[in-house]
């Protein structure tokens, strides 16, 4: 290595092939605010997603607590009915679009490229753009809390005609519904753009030897989820466009007085909305499929089955939307067909359950905190699945529709399933992300408090629902027989809140003062554990060559021979440059959508111009890039050191 190359050893970045700047200097800072605003590093973008998602998770939880306080006793006057409507609308919208989906996206961003042995995603600037657009949508949705119009109050399903001008402006006279429309529209842009990026990354950026049937299951579920997103979001995009036309230009898509069909909204919404359910749960299944083998000290039982059942769930998810509409009077044939299709989904889901149990069977189970959350997931996701099958029978559903039984069901699936798995994922990958490990005592304590609180909150709701308590109702009479179960649920909600509080405090404490984890603390199986903790900017010193399904575990413990030499990168590691244009373009979209929500068209056009300038600059800027030259002796990729 010559002197020039020596001076550019790890950490010194030499810009190469970068164009002379012309709008403003292309940022190169590696620390500080600007470096975060202009970042194109998938790990940093993953952290940005994760932090925002956790903040919105807390906000959504706060909204839920207010709902539970209102319902604690009969005839409560704690909050107004209008505020209650805003709360349940925003609780659902926040938890689905601003907490669970972006938390999944955080793992997609951070973990997936590491698992396939990639240096970054396929389109790093687009990845940054997707995050800033997500944040824009989140701001638009929540801006209602701070202005006169109030937050959206139409339910996360936005059923016509509740969203028509006639009804949704009756009390408030302005923009909350438009904020909801534009907020979801902007979030849709973010999700679709991000998913297109993940699809290309997984298909095209795999390390040599990483065939599709060697992909880690989490990456597989990322791929299926991304396909679900790009194929289901257009339906709600169009539904929202049509609703927006109704509200802004007086069209008659969902206006009965003009010949419109409100039921069309339900079809379009659920063609998106049902796949959305799997968008929320498939990443969680992916996380569980990583955690359980690691802590059972066994390879995943039936890997091909788990992959195919995931894809089958994705496929069937598109064919069952009308089971949300059994009570709308679609006719016997349609109802029967959708009931059967819905029951069919239980098969691949049940298959996955047996795969996880089969993985643990005869394994050497280590009950570390992530595994505890995974076991909680198995237990409660199964319960949510059972009540799900009950809904799929149309006659039973006719009784349960819009009752607390449904609320109990989907909270068992979405908290007991998706959230528990994502909380497991945070614990599981925390050592990788920050080089620190959560204390087992405090981690398990938070798990038990969350587990108990969750069940105390939502289990009684099954009985409330079967006893006829409807959803979305702000008050109930004391003579209905719902008093004690409601009080128990509210107490449970506070226990759950305490558990979540402990979880957050533990995570924050661990981040600042936690015990150092050392490298590969769980004896991991997949490639992400082969690199430094926390990872260097360039992920892998040398791109690994993959020879088995659990490549890192294979090279550590099973391989008899040395792995083949990874392909050399003689000119150093090429990394993409940072860029201002993703955030500028997203800002243009934010301004345009926000002004549009208030029907302020001059402002909307100004935002559109900013958006166009962002795209214009972006297209001329080019991907740029610089090279990192590793010192020959600093290369410490442990996948090759393990021998």
């Amino acid at each position: 290595m010559d002197a020039a190359a020596q001076s550019q050893s790890l950490g010194h970045h030499a810009p190469v092939a970068d164009r002379r700047p012309w709008y403003f200097t292309r940022p190169t800072a590696k620390t500080g605010l600007v470096s975060w605003l202009t970042t194109v590093d998938h790990k940093r973008i993953g952290l940005l997603y994760g932090i925002s998602a956790l903040i919105f998770f807390l906000i959504g939880g706060l909204e839920a607590l207010l709902i539970r306080i209102q319902l604690a006793v009969p005839n409560n006057t704690f909050i107004s009915h209008q505020f209650y409507n805003e709360l349940f609308t925003m609780h659902a919208t926040t938890m689905i679009f601003l907490a669970v989906m972006p938390l999944s996206a955080a793992f997609f961003n951070y973990i997936m490229p590491l698992q396939i042995g990639a240096r970054d995603v396929a389109f790093p600037r687009l990845n940054g753009f997707a995050f800033w657009v997500f944040l824009s949508g989140a701001i638009i949705l929540n801006v209602g809390w701070f202005v006169k119009s109030g937050a959206p109050d139409i339910g996360w399903f936005g059923y016509a005609p509740l969203t028509s001008l006639q009804y949704s402006t009756q009390f408030k006279g302005d923009a909350s519904t438009d904020l909801w429309i534009m907020g979801l529209q902007v979030l849709g842009v973010s999700s679709v753009v991000g998913s297109l990026n993940f699809i290309v990354t997984i298909i095209n950026m795999r390390a040599p030897g990483m065939t599709m049937m060697r992909l880690p299951v989490f990456t597989w579920m990322t791929l299926v989820t991304a396909f679900l997103i790009i194929l289901s979001f257009p339906a709600i995009t169009i539904a929202l466009v049509e609703l927006m036309m109704d509200r802004t230009f007086g069209t008659g898509f969902f206006e009965v007085s003009k010949g419109g069909l409100p039921i069309l909204w339900q079809h379009l919404f659920w063609i998106f909305g049902h796949p959305e359910v799997y968008i929320l749960i498939l990443p969680a299944m992916g996380v569980i499929s990583e955690v359980i083998p690691t802590f059972s000290r066994k390879p995943l039982f039936g890997y091909p089955i788990i992959v195919f059942s995931g894809a089958t769930i994705g496929l069937l998810g598109f064919g069952v939307w009308s089971h949300h509409m059994f009570t709308t009077g679609m006719g016997t044939m349609a109802t029967a067909a959708f009931a059967l299709a819905t029951m069919a989904i239980a098969v691949p889901t049940g298959v996955k359950m047996f795969n996880w149990i089969g993985t643990m069977w005869g394994g050497h189970i280590m009950t570390r905190t992530p595994m505890m959350f995974a076991l909680g997931f198995l237990w409660m996701f199964m319960m949510g699945g059972f009540s799900g099958i009950m809904h799929s029978a149309a006659p039973a559903d006719a009784q349960q529709q819009d009752s607390y039984f449904v609320v109990a069901h989907f909270h068992y699936v979405l908290i007991g399933g998706a959230v528990f798995a994502l909380l497991a994922g945070i614990h599981y990958w925390f050592p990788l992300m920050f080089g620190r490990k959560v204390s087992e005592f405090w981690g398990k304590l938070s798990f038990w408090v969350i587990f108990v609180g969750f069940n105390v909150t939502f289990f009684p709701m099954h009985f409330l629902g079967l006893n006829g308590m409807p959803r979305r109702t702000a008050v109930y009479d004391g003579n209905m027989g719902w008093n004690s179960a409601n009080l128990v649920a509210t107490i449970g909600a506070f226990i759950l809140a305490v558990g979540i509080g402990i979880y957050f405090v533990v995570i924050l404490y661990t981040y600042f003062k936690g015990q150092k984890s050392g490298r590969d603390p769980w004896d991991g199986r997949t490639l992400e554990w082969a690199i430094a903790h926390p990872p260097a900017e360039h992920n892998f010193d040398t791109i690994p060559v993959v020879r088995a399904r659990d490549p890192f575990f294979h090279e550590k413990h099973l391989a008899k021979d040395k792995p083949p030499a990874p392909p050399a990168e003689p000119h150093g590691i090429h990394m993409p440059s940072q860029s201002w244009f993703p955030i500028i373009t997203a800002l243009g979209l934010l301004v345009a959508a926000l002004f549009y929500s208030y029907h302020h068209f001059t402002g909307a056009i100004a935002g559109g111009v900013l958006l166009f300038l962002g795209v214009y600059g972006w297209s001329h800027e080019g991907p740029g890039g610089y090279h990192i030259h590793l010192d020959e002796h600093s290369g410490d990729d442990s996948s090759h050191k393990a021998h």
């Binding site: 092939a17 970068d18 164009r19 002379r20 012309w22 396929a122 389109f123 679709v192 297109l196 990026n197 699809i199 290309v200 298909i203 095209n204 950026m205 795999r206 990483m210 790009i230 194929l231 289901s232 979001f233 257009p234 339906a235 995009t237 169009i238 539904a239 466009v241 049509e242 036309m245 230009f249 007086g250 069209t251 008659g252 898509f253 003009k258 010949g259 419109g260 069909l261 069309l264 379009l268 063609i271 392909p567 166009f612 795209v615 214009y616 297209s619 001329h620």
Partner: protein, 283 residues
């Protein structure tokens, strides 16, 4: 890694740095178009549902449509697809001049299509009394065809950006002068677009009112828009005679190719819309 890479042979469809050999941008575009299929599928179904269940008093589409004009604009859009394909082909062979000409031609035809649509919309509103809000037919018709028109407009903007980029010098140190030129290009383009759109609308209007033979009288009626359009085209042609080596060429043919995929897709969708919305009314 690969023996092909060393041979110097340029294969436009295989990128040896990706796992599948398909360039990232191409895969991205295919995935995006899959998403766009669902997008238009939803819109077209909405239209068909309201056509199958028309509320009382719905207008008869046949009394509104002008099938000759729409057939003409459909033909124009297909021709733009041909020029787009020629632009991609030229770029893959490194013929930058030819790429630029074909890009301009695509833009031109795209603009004619848009002008026909703008004319059609204003004609339907003012002459036939079909508005967005007075029937579900109007709501679905304008939303569906308007969304397609937005796709064409975005495609035209994209083509313009690509055209301007084709003047970017290969040598990074040559630096800034081309940017001034790019800005001049953009401005000339915007003026030319406005002028040509206005000219096209007037042309179409005269043709629809007095038959295609009357187009000759156009010059005397609309001299300004015609003159500005001509001047704009000449200015663009002059600016396009840039002989310095451009960065543009075989290496980034994939950029033109993925744009071409988008353009062809928008054309194919139009064929579906033309059939489902217009032609089926005449069955």
């Amino acid at each position: 890694m690969s023996s092909h890479a060393a041979s110097g042979h340029i294969d436009h469809h295989h990128d040896h740095t990706t796992s599948t050999g398909i360039p990232n941008k191409k895969l991205f575009m295919w995935a995006f178009l899959a998403s766009d299929c669902m997008f238009f599928g939803t819109l077209i179904s909405t239209h068909l549902i309201y056509r199958l269940h028309p509320p009382p008093g719905s207008p008869d589409p046949k009394s509104i449509f002008s099938i000759e004009l729409t057939s003409f604009s459909t033909f124009i859009l297909l021709m733009s697809s041909l020029l787009m394909a020629l632009a991609v082909n030229a770029c893959q062979k490194g013929r930058v001049e030819s790429t630029r000409k074909n890009l301009l031609g695509t833009i031109f035809f795209g603009l004619i299509f848009l002008a026909c649509q703008v004319y059609e919309f204003s004609h339907f509103v003012h002459e036939k009394g079909l508005t967005l809000s007075n029937s579900t037919f109007g709501s679905t018709f304008y939303t569906l065809t308007g969304t397609h028109g937005c796709h064409v407009a975005i495609g035209v903007l994209w083509l313009i950006l690509m055209y301007i980029r084709s003047f970017k010098p290969a040598d990074a140190d040559e630096g800034r002068p081309w940017i001034g030129k790019a800005v001049v290009h953009l401005l000339v383009f915007l003026v030319t677009i406005v002028a040509s759109m206005s000219a096209m609308m007037s042309y179409t209007h005269i043709a629809a009112e007095h038959g295609w033979g009357a187009v000759g009288t156009f010059l005397s009626h609309h001299p300004i828009s015609t003159a500005v359009t001509l001047a704009g085209v000449i200015a663009l042609w002059a600016l396009g005679r840039d002989k310095s080596t451009a960065e543009f060429g075989e290496a980034n043919a994939i950029d033109v190719e993925s744009m071409g995929l988008y353009w062809h897709f928008v054309d194919i969708v139009w064929i579906v819309i033309f059939t489902a919305v217009y032609l089926l009314e005449y069955v």
